[in-house]
């Protein structure tokens, strides 16, 4: 590790200017904070977090819709634990559960399907949130429900895909990004080739990174080397898990069940083609259609700067609500409640002592 740290310091010095690398993925954000690796980087190399936290970019209207659904006595909500404390306009799934609503935390979409089989009198709605790493697992659940005719299972779909969001960020050009640490596990599914457009269009280097502190430091070094060489390529640091073309079976399953759609990202606004919608063929497993869900306009606290934070334009410390009252125990915005949210990371791991 020492050699890596020294190599980074040396490369940065050679480069002779400050650089900002964006680590898009929320798991990278957390890994960086948890390992303390940001402190090992020279002041000239800054890591900025991006919108790769699926909980953080979920529109609050989605949470409101989920809360509406769990108010129905025939519905059981099954969800990943990550979502239960996310604030909607007025409440959270955790609070609704405390008030008696049927909300079950599951570890896998397959668990939700099992729940549907075990509770035939309930409509089990799985909250489908996550990027390309998670989408295939949800696609599997839908495909399987269709094959086995599990009629009381459906998914409220809010899956999103990464490349369009990265493109939107670059087009917006609000932050000068010198390089990307690309999401490692998304890339396991999609393959590393999906980032090529960033290099070709914007001439910005990309390194697909693993999640150990070592992986991320190595990726930073690789980015610096690319900058020094004047290259802009997609390099793969996480070669033990990622290849260029990805997991074809997973991609096929996703394509069978989902199709691209336009959707709204909290903080980034509407991004065309960046979402996944359930195909008509599987409409009966689309909770929005099957159970008649209406998405209302959600109210977002105007002081909440999650949006700016997600675009790398502000840090959590720039938000007036940070720490008071917004904290992991009492979050105002999703960046504080998500286990991968930048605000949560700052608060938990690096906040200045009050």
């Amino acid at each position: 590790m020492k050699t890596l740290v020294e190599s980074i310091a040396g490369l940065s010095q050679q480069l002779g200017r400050d650089v900002k690398f964006m680590e898009v993925c929320g798991t990278h954000t957390m890994a960086a904070f948890r390992s303390g690796l940001r402190q090992l980087l020279p002041g000239s190399v800054r890591l900025v977090s991006g919108p790769g936290c699926p909980v953080c970019v979920t529109d609050p209207g989605y949470i409101d819709a989920a809360i509406d659904l769990c108010g129905r006595s025939d519905v059981m909500i099954a969800t990943f634990g990550d979502l239960v404390r996310v604030p909607g306009t007025e409440s959270t799934l955790e609070r609704e559960r405390a008030a008696g609503a049927s909300v079950r935390i599951v570890y896998s979409p397959s668990d939700a399907l099992v729940l549907a089989r075990e509770c035939p009198s309930k409509n089990v709605v799985f909250l489908g949130v996550g990027f390309e790493t998670t989408a295939p697992t949800v696609a599997w659940a839908i495909w399987r429900a269709a094959r086995d005719e599990v009629r009381n299972f459906s998914v409220l779909c809010a899956h999103k895909t990464m490349p369009q969001a990265m493109d939107a960020l670059l087009r917006e050009n609000a932050v000068k990004i010198d390089g990307f640490l690309c999401p490692g596990h998304v890339s396991v599914i999609t393959g590393a080739h999906i980032y090529r457009f960033i290099c070709e269009h914007y001439h910005i280097p990309c390194v697909v990174s693993g999640f150990e502190a070592w992986d991320m430091m190595k990726s930073v070094a690789m980015l610096l080397q690319q900058l020094a060489d004047g290259r802009a390529e997609v390099e793969n640091e996480y070669s033990r898990s990622v290849n260029d073309f990805g997991n074809l079976a997973a991609q096929q399953l996703m394509d069978e069940v989902f199709e691209p759609c336009d959707c709204v990202w909290r903080g980034l606004g509407p991004i065309p083609g960046s979402g996944l919608a359930i195909r008509d063929k599987y409409a009966q497993f689309d909770a929005a259609k099957a159970l008649g869900v209406t998405f209302r306009e959600a109210h977002i606290n105007p002081l909440c700067r999650c949006g700016a934070v997600l675009r790398g334009v502000a840090t959590p410390l720039d938000c007036r609500l940070f720490g008071r009252p917004c904290s992991p125990a009492h979050p105002v915005g999703p960046c504080m409640v998500s286990s991968e949210g930048v605000c949560a990371a700052y608060f938990k791991y690096e906040r200045v002592a009050a």
Partner: protein, 336 residues
């Protein structure tokens, strides 16, 4: 506040529990004996100091690898006394039983209480039984109170922890929480990990007998080591730094935590004690702990400093530093 409700997280031993205590219980009940909010209250009667504590046990499932709710009830109560430097003497035992509970299960649990009480050197001197309708509690709940006699020259407590103190723990963390979780419905996974549930006076008595300058002890139960150091840092207004490479965590616990996305520092322990003592006494205390069966893997895991006041930090294996945050209260397995 009127429309707010109690959440599961309020029982987690983390931020929300603390808030409930500070915003609801203390304003209504505050008095000098309660205020320190240590694991037990210290009462002076007839020239002797006694530790007095109460606890309730609602663990689900009530039978788990390495123990059961009965053993847990004895150990948990006894250990709250032990960490005040008190020799546990007497327990009260209140049962709330669910209609339909198998008598065979109750028998197993009561026998477990008997053997654990003997192991801990305590007597159950008074009790109570209530039965509630089917569905109103899960099998059974247990409430206890415990009394012990303080054997240290001064009462121990978080407020006595000082900069320079060493932080010692008697063995690997995270075992109880993981063992219980492995039997819980919905997050089923299998593991060979068993609860570390054990009464700690036999380990702590030799520590006390060293006459070392012990300032505080804490059993890191709900909320784990993280909650314990956050609490103490806050109560004593000191900084506590733990070293990640010194934390004893077994391979299996680490694997389970990786699998479920949990942090071992936040997971409950029921057979562990953290000792805060004057730095120059650390080696002596460590030696006494290592000489006992319950302390063979004891380690110095950190130290207390002046800054940053009120916060606990972790020095990571790669040489960085991060805050150890007070857990919010509910351990949910995550995917993100």
């Amino acid at each position: 506040m009127r429309r707010d409700r109690i959440l599961l997280a309020h029982g987690g031993g983390g931020t929300l529990t603390r808030e409930l205590i500070e915003k609801l219980f203390l304003p209504n009940l505050d008095n000098p004996l309660l205020k320190p909010l240590d694991d037990s209250a210290v009462l002076v009667m007839g020239g002797n100091s006694y530790a007095f504590t109460t606890d309730s046990y609602v663990v689900k499932p009530y039978l788990f690898p390495g123990g059961d709710i009965g053993r847990l009830a004895v150990c948990g109560t006894v250990n709250d006394l032990v960490v005040m430097g008190a020799q546990p003497l007497w327990l009260s035992l209140g049962f709330i039983l669910e209609e339909g509970l198998l008598l065979a299960d109750l028998q197993t649990i009561v026998e477990s209480i008997r053997t654990t009480a003997t192991e801990a050197g305590v007597q159950v001197v008074t009790g109570d039984t209530k039965v509630v309708e089917r569905g109103k509690c899960e099998g059974l709940y247990i409430n206890t109170a415990g009394i012990g006699r303080v054997m240290t020259p001064h009462p121990l407590g978080a407020a006595r922890v000082k900069p320079g103190d060493a932080v010692i723990i008697n063995g690997p963390i995270g075992e109880h929480g993981v063992a219980v979780m492995s039997r819980r419905e919905g997050i089923a996974f299998q593991t060979n990990i068993v609860s570390d549930c054990a009464p700690l006076w036999p380990l702590v008595q030799p520590i006390v007998n060293t006459k070392a300058d012990i300032h505080a002890m804490r059993d890191p139960t709900r909320g784990g080591v993280a909650a314990a150091v956050c609490d103490i840092a806050r109560a004593a207004n000191v900084g506590i730094r733990l070293r990640e490479d010194a934390l004893p965590i077994s391979r299996e616990v680490r694997g389970a935590c990786d699998l479920l996305g949990l942090d071992p520092l936040t997971i409950a322990n029921e057979g562990k004690v953290m000792v805060f003592c004057r730095a120059t006494d650390a080696e002596r205390v460590l030696a006494a702990m290592k000489a006992h069966l319950l302390g063979t893997e004891s380690r110095i895991i950190g130290e207390v400093s002046e800054t940053p006041p009120g916060m606990a930090l972790l020095r990571t294996t790669i040489g960085g530093e991060r805050i150890i945050d007070m857990p919010t209260g509910e351990d949910v397995p995550r995917i993100c």
